[in-house]
């Protein structure tokens, strides 16, 4: 490593340039959205091609987005579904992962198979919709947003792998002191596996923040819609009319402003989650190791 050959140095330089290019290519679409969201709507519509900086500067679109009662309501709903959902998910996953990591217990490996089987044989869309929605009466309920996806088997396995790596001696000495499994889990396993828990919590939070499909299946009352379902109306079904109608934008400006509204909503809906993950990033590599799935 001390003496680098010429070929080695060329490779290093090429690698730095190549990865820089990859990073720019990955980041640019997001920068474009950011630039476009603060651009002057009329200039933006006339422009075609890349943006290297905002065209003019206007926060009008953000004002409309923030003043829109639907978006605010969707935000609150999403926060609610995400926070309650993540608490339920983490409780089930931590308890389950700890129990599944106790290999000496006779029946644990069968339960592991019982859980892992659903990774290969997933329930299909229609029976899921009918059993959860109709048989369990979850249509248009808060529970439909937090219970049916509460456990992600992959996350369960990630956490179980982390728990299984805790040395057995720690647990045995606690047991001699009279601690039961609940105490051991809370006092020893949870503090020791904070990295894994942080990563799995993030996984759950992100998937709940971004989820829309279940909401589309089970909810048809607009006041219950999460943010993503409202985004779908704006971005995919292309209707910014309701937002524009609620604002004071003149008739001739509606189309251009409609464009910037789209970009502003993307920023408002995406920024919170993008701000969280860099703090947990250092745990990623450590937390995501997949172990053998067998019990």
């Amino acid at each position: 490593m001390i003496r680098q050959s010429k070929g080695e140095r060329t490779f290093q330089a090429a690698n730095v340039v190549l990865l820089g290019f990859v990073a720019v290519l990955t980041l640019y679409p997001l920068l474009y959205v950011l630039f476009a969201s603060v651009s002057d709507p009329n200039l933006l519509v006339r422009n075609s091609g890349l943006l290297l900086k905002p065209l003019g500067f206007e926060l009008g679109a953000y004002k409309i987005v923030f003043n829109n009662p639907d978006i605010g309501n969707g935000y609150v709903n999403t926060l609610l579904y995400m926070s309650v959902g993540t608490v339920i998910s983490m409780t089930l996953t931590i308890l389950g992962a700890y129990a599944l990591s106790r290999r000496h217990a006779m029946f644990v490996k069968y339960v592991m198979f019982f859980a892992a089987f659903t990774m290969w044989f997933k329930p299909s869309m229609i029976p899921f919709f009918l059993t959860v929605g109709t048989d369990m009466h979850m249509k248009n309920t808060f529970w439909a947003m937090v219970l049916p996806r509460a456990i992600v088997t992959y996350n369960l396995i990630v956490l179980r792998t982390g728990f299984a790596a805790v040395p057995e001696s720690l647990e045995e000495s606690a047991r001699i002191d009279g601690a039961n499994d609940f105490t051991i889990l809370l006092r020893i396993f949870v503090p020791l596996c904070m990295a894994n828990i942080a990563v799995v919590t993030l996984f759950y939070m992100v998937s709940k923040w971004n989820s829309w499909f279940d909401a589309m299946l089970f909810l048809n009352k607009r006041p219950m819609f999460p943010l993503q379902l409202l985004l779908r109306e704006i971005l995919i079904l292309n209707s910014t009319d309701s937002m524009l109608a609620a604002s004071s934008v003149g008739q001739s400006d509606q189309i251009p402003v409609g464009e910037t509204i789209k970009y502003a909503t993307i920023v408002v809906a995406t920024l919170p989650i993008l701000c969280v993950y860099p703090f947990i990033q250092k745990y990623f590599v450590k937390g995501v190791m997949i172990g053998a799935i067998k019990g």
Binding site: V16, V22, L95, W120, L235, I266
Partner: protein, 316 residues
């Protein structure tokens, strides 16, 4: 260790019933903790799985899943003989195979390149940026694609500058697979590289030392040390990927689907959504999905067996 082996000797002398009772008493809290998990899986996985029986019934909302009449394989035969069977299978397989060819190796290459970087801060920045798209919702990604690929959109105007047509690319059946795979790489390449970086960090550094002493250059080190070290991870992920070959991410297809690109974009899951959820053909689409699940299940078992025979690595 002593106590564990002593325990096992002791167990050997007892009857099954005594062993079960002892196990339940000893691990009562463990089983108590498993209870919510088991209930959850029964309710939200196994109950819906049982609901698959409507593939063999004529579902009537009034009679419900369990009360509807049996019709045998009617829905399967009508699917196999329909025009859609060939189209859905072709589209699903082609998108999946393109993903395996292009999106699957991309994170491996990215991880190898990131691993070679000698500048820690730069490395961290590259990682943070390439992970980013993973955190963006499918709705936003598809919204961006629709916006960028429309007539005069950003990507369209860049493509127009190099001589390609200035039209809405999502309306062209010929462009759909490329759009799907390219955006898939953009979204997942960085994130998927994490698992390979984890595997790379666990390769014994002495192996590199030994290879260097034997006169191996960088390329040969990669070939003889790094790749064999990554092989178990690659194989496990490849088996999972091949098993999921018929499960093309339905969220993205449902969002990007339109009548003009249906010829290449319609896959099994988007068909199930459209005909099932939107048009309420519950039994027919469950049959389609059940066929899909069955094939996937067989594929996982086959690839796992092949992988075990050829590389000694497998999921179980």
């Amino acid at each position: 260790m002593v106590s564990a082996s002593a325990r096992r000797v002791q167990i050997g002398r007892k009857s099954l019933r005594q062993r079960v009772v002892k196990d339940l008493r000893r691990y009562k809290y463990v089983y108590l903790m498993l209870l919510p998990l088991i209930i959850w899986y029964l309710l939200f996985c196994y109950w819906p799985l049982l609901g698959n029986v409507i593939a063999f019934k004529d579902f009537k909302p009034m009679k419900g899943i369990w009360g509807s009449d049996w019709v045998g394989f009617k829905h399967f035969t009508s699917f196999f003989s329909s025009y859609y069977f060939g189209r859905l299978l072709r589209n699903t397989l082609l998108i999946s195979i393109y993903c395996i060819i292009f999106s699957f190796p991309a994170p491996i290459i990215l991880a190898l390149l990131i691993n070679e970087l000698r500048l820690p801060r730069y490395k961290r920045v590259v990682q943070t940026i390439t992970y980013m798209p993973y955190f963006i919702s499918m709705i936003v990604i598809c919204g961006m694609l629709m916006d960028f690929l429309k007539k005069d959109g950003v990507i369209t105007s860049v493509l127009a500058a190099i001589g390609l047509p200035n039209e809405n690319y999502l309306m062209m059946p010929g462009a759909f697979r490329t759009i799907y795979v390219t955006s898939d790489i953009w979204q997942h390449c960085g994130w998927n590289s994490i698992i390979y970086l984890a595997a790379l960090s666990s390769i014994d550094q002495e192996l590199y030392e030994a290879a260097r002493i034997d006169g191996a250059g960088r390329l040969r080190q990669t070939w003889h040390v790094t790749l064999p070290g990554l092989l178990p991870t690659i194989m496990i992920l490849l088996i999972m990927r091949v098993g999921a070959v018929l499960n093309v991410g339905y969220e993205k297809i449902i969002l990007l689907y339109n009548a003009s690109n249906a010829e290449t974009s319609d896959v099994i899951s988007s068909f199930v959504y459209r005909r099932g959820i939107l048009e309420a053909n519950f039994s027919y689409t469950t049959a389609v999905d059940f066929f899909n699940a069955l094939i996937s299940f067989v594929l996982v078992i086959v690839t796992n067996t092949v992988s075990k025979r050829k590389t000694e690595y497998g999921l179980w």
